[in-house]
């Protein structure tokens, strides 16, 4: 059995709420199937107060082995480096002190969600609580734990980013650990598990045909591609949200709103408004990853001139134009 301890600090608890939505089978079965024993989890366990603190102390005293430490939420170092923005209840001790000690005991340390990984939403604006991630501050290495930190299995903090995380991102990572198959090669440049960041949100987006013809949405409910006007970062965001449906079967783009690239460090401060695409001379700033700008412009011009009427109509409508009839009509037009 692998002992898993889950703690929460400067976040919203949304990654846990998402995790509870895991299905086929449900969360507790997936854990037991992987021989994972939940030592303590703030939303699930029976133990409260002194009993919960006892578990933490037993870990620090090496009475309980800590195989996996999961942290949800950012680390609040403020005000003035005191950590008073989160004193762990019942302990009169800053949470940042607890996590530093516990991280020295764990075989694997996982940052669950963009807050725990990079600081996330809590570090936005003027970052009033001096929030950071476990081993990153935004895209810069070095958060609460130093750059040199390694868990007992000689890995840096594994950053399962996302706001929130998809339940599978957490559970597959845990399963890799349970099967002794997680190594540094499985992590990308920001130490995120590659299995979900080797895709773009764009992959599998149901607006892809609109993207191909640059048939763009101009307001909420429009069915067209949201990249040109609506601030969508799906062509840059590394996540498999449109390949791996979210609990219940949706995604941000299927819900009619822009991908805000929530798996990326610093996503919370895009230096522009979230829901409007910044443009220079009519061309969106921030093109798809790896695509030369001149090519993009050339393709866009060509695609726009070739857009079928069916797509042009649907792109700025909330109703899909009937494929069968329109195809007939378009072929007749030709």
């Amino acid at each position: 059995m692998l002992n898993l301890l889950w703690l929460q600090s400067g976040g919203c608890g949304g990654c846990t709420m998402s995790l509870l939505s895991a299905s086929d089978p449900h969360l507790m079965k997936q854990l037991s199937n992987n021989n994972i024993n939940l030592l303590w989890h703030p939303s699930i366990s029976e133990e409260s107060s002194a009993q919960a603190i006892q578990i933490l102390n037993d870990i620090l005293d090496d009475k309980i082995k800590l195989d996996i430490l999961c942290l949800e939420g950012s680390l609040l170092r403020g005000p003035n480096k005191t950590g008073l923005c989160h004193m762990m209840a019942g302990t009169s001790t800053p949470f940042i002190d607890w996590i530093q000690k516990l991280a020295n005991k764990s075989d694997y340390t996982l940052a669950v969600g963009s807050c725990a990984a990079y600081g996330g939403i809590t570090a936005a604006g003027g970052n009033p609580t001096d929030a950071c991630g476990l081993q990153y501050e935004g895209h810069m290495v070095g958060g609460l734990l130093s750059e040199k930190y390694r868990s007992k299995k000689n890995l840096p903090v594994v950053n399962i980013s996302g706001c929130p995380t998809h339940p599978d991102w957490v559970l597959i990572t845990l399963s890799m650990i349970a099967n002794d198959q997680l190594s540094i090669e499985d992590l990308d440049e920001y130490l995120r598990p590659k299995f979900f960041t080797q895709h773009l949100v764009h992959h599998g987006c149901d607006r892809n045909e609109y993207y191909e013809f640059k048939a763009s949405a101009s307001k909420p409910t429009d069915l067209g591609c949201m990249m040109e006007n609506m601030g969508c970062l799906g062509t840059q965001a590394q996540a498999d949200c449109n390949i791996r449906p979210w609990p219940g079967g949706g995604s941000c783009t299927s819900g009619g709103f822009a991908c805000i690239n929530c798996t990326a460090p610093d996503f919370e401060e895009p230096k522009q408004t979230f829901m409007k695409t910044p443009k220079i001379a009519g061309i969106p700033v921030g093109l798809p990853l790896d695509m030369p700008k001149a090519w993009f412009i050339a393709l866009t011009t060509l695609a726009k001139s070739a857009t079928p009427k069916r797509l042009r109509d649907s792109a700025t409508s909330d109703t899909i134009s009937n494929i069968g009839n329109k195809l007939d009509k378009e072929s007749k037009d030709v």
Partner: protein, 480 residues
Amino acid sequence: MSNVIAGPFNRVEGDLELKLDIQSNQIIDAKVTSPMYRGFEQILVGKSALDALVYTPRICGICSISQSIACAYALENDQSIKVPHNGRIATNLVLGTENVLDHLTHFYLFFMPDFAKHEYESKSWYADIKHRFQAGKGEALNDILPARTNLLKVVALLAGKWPHTLSIQPGGSSKAVDKYEQIELKNTIRQFKSFLEDITFGTSLQKVLQIQTRSELLGWAQNNQSDFAKFVQLIEENELEDLGKVDLTLMSYGNYYQSAEKTSFSSGVYQHNKLQLLDASKIREYTQYSYLDNTHSGKHPLQNSTEIPSSLDDKAYSWCKAPRLDDQVIEVGAFARQVIDRQPLITDLHQYAKSNVANRVIARMIEVARIALLLEQWVDEFETGNAFYQALDLPDNFQSEGLIEAARGSLGHWIEVKNGKISNYQIVAPTTWNFSPMDDKQQKGALEQALIGTQAIDSQSVKIEHIVRSFDPCMVCTAH
């Protein structure tokens, strides 16, 4: 005897600490501490007005949609009349879904597991309850977790994902529904209803809502083996109606807009045995016992501000502010909502024993039955083919409020925008009301009052756990 500190309380959302003075096995004083502060109100200042839709849902992972809607309502300002009916219905559906899921998550995962604790080992019902509800292990998890995920199809279809959607916009919903999706929604809601009728209530929702009095409820539960009935069977033996009892002013902002003015659950204030109209302009936030800066204590949210002071005040004991309505300590939540909406059973329970552990839980479950029926009704109200969204021109300068009911009670957002940028954003969440510290007149918050007087040997007493969790606290919202 002693001053004791209890925490971390789990099976609440976020972190919570209690400071209790227990003498002769009785709690004689209680201080409720929100030990974590993230600074959303500070983060939002300077942001473009619409970007609040990205930040505010992330205040809370369990009532994220409620936060989105309060924000969208605040941004709509005086233009809510322009929101298309479909947009309103879509909003009701996602909010209703979140609210029932929150209530059920609370009942199955947070509240009931306390009755499976070893303190109750000698009780005749213990083995059965433990088998069904034990934390992390109970058999009910095999029912509730899949049912929860199945109902999330409603949110997935209308709002993409949960938590943290951007589908809720000032002016309606970003996702229009066609008649085929309408059928899918209907099927999902019917499946959820059958889960409630088979497992949670063991009878039709209509029959649950026909129960009008306390004695009818107790009688009904004797002949029923559903999860809700199992709880009702525990009430008298464990004196849950005497536990955590308070008789405070109750408040509801009203919920689920049917039109620009009319809500499915009515708004109001219940005080001195009568219902009164809500006057939200009388809301004040006090900070003398909060760690936050005290400069604007006693001001309305729009005149308030939020800053971390250079040093934390010794007499302060929580990051939470103390909101008051007309200087009254307020209780919010499903119990308050259903008393104010004059739901027959909850009205009778209120007459019998005011707000207590049992009644707060019953009100939540009655609300589950009511909302499930409303979900089905709303899906039928979609006028597919008509608009779900109407673009609104947000003025460059305005002050506004967005008031809604989250699962846990009244949620308010107050916004001031200058030159298109947020110059002030104040949030008063449900648990900010219920778990507030003392106000400047040293009136204690609802949980503090509910704890004082309780017979408890020490801070580990399971009674304390029942009282705390009966409010279904959301601590991440509380101090935000």
